[in-house]
Amino acid sequence: MTAIPLNHVLMLACILFAIGFIGVISRKNTLFILMSLEIMLNAVGVAFIGAGSVWQQADGQIMFILILSLAAAEVAIGLALLLRMQRRYQSLDIDKLSELRG
């Protein structure tokens, strides 16, 4: 049995996830939205590692590794898209991306 109770690990994961979610929905700068997404993925990783350490299984760490590769791919594509956006609109404001409005 671990020294850290699972409740508290899950609470930390929830708090981090909530902070990241608030960042995603409240910021206008797209770069900050990407950073908040990183925080959210990280919170999910905390939950997985905590569960894996409580049950003494390595599956939690494997899920964390998969999340890590997902985050790497997401950041690469997201930053490339932001480069494209900066080049076209000269700004990172997400409200500029409203061409589809009817």
Binding site: S69, L79, L82
Partner: protein, 174 residues
């Protein structure tokens, strides 16, 4: 200082740094706080008995992904946004916050290294890299292959989108 107390301290550091990331104005300062947040989460992983995941967190997240962010910020040429919306702080005050949080983490690390009792407790519930590797290349082999395809797709898409639009590039205005 027990393991639980250290875990709560590292979690508090992570939450504070994440709050500063979300509410920050200056991009580089927010990136500094993001590094501190990731390092604090890595300390949490270490205290939960997953040193391999902690190392991966430091190497991949705080090492590679954050460097990608920094390079992108350099390419963005952000002076327009930054000058408009941020007061330019020239003093040493702006890095005092991240340094204080990182020093907190360093103090915890040093106290763990010094204290043999805590190290014994940490090895009780260890899930080491060997078990992870056996599972990764056994039952999870297909997931590893899919992750490699995902990374390849990320590479190609990143190259495609970040390529400068010029007369030589085909595909036109996309």
């Amino acid at each position: 200082m027990t393991i639980e107390l250290m875990f709560y301290l590292a979690g508090t550091v992570a939450v504070l740094a994440s709050l500063k990331v979300v509410t920050g104005k200056n991009t580089i300062h927010a990136l500094l706080y993001l590094v501190v947040s990731l390092l604090a989460v890595a300390v949490c992983f270490y205290l939960m008995g997953a040193p391999f995941a902690a190392g991966l967190e430091v190497i991949v997240y705080a090492g590679a992904i954050l460097v990608l962010f920094v390079f992108a910020v350099m390419l963005f040429n952000l002076n327009h946004d930054e000058v408009l919306f941020t007061r330019q702080s020239q003093g040493l005050g702006f890095w005092a916050g991240p340094v204080a949080l990182a020093m907190c983490l360093l103090a915890m690390l040093v106290s763990i290294i010094q204290n043999a009792d805590i190290q014994d407790k940490l090895t009780v519930n260890l899930v080491d890299a060997k078990q992870v590797g056996i599972l990764l290349y056994g039952p999870y082999l297909l997931a590893v292959e899919i992750a490699s395809f995902l990374l390849l797709a990320g590479l190609i898409a990143g190259y495609h989108y970040a390529r400068p639009e010029g007369p030589g590039s085909h595909g036109g205005r996309s």
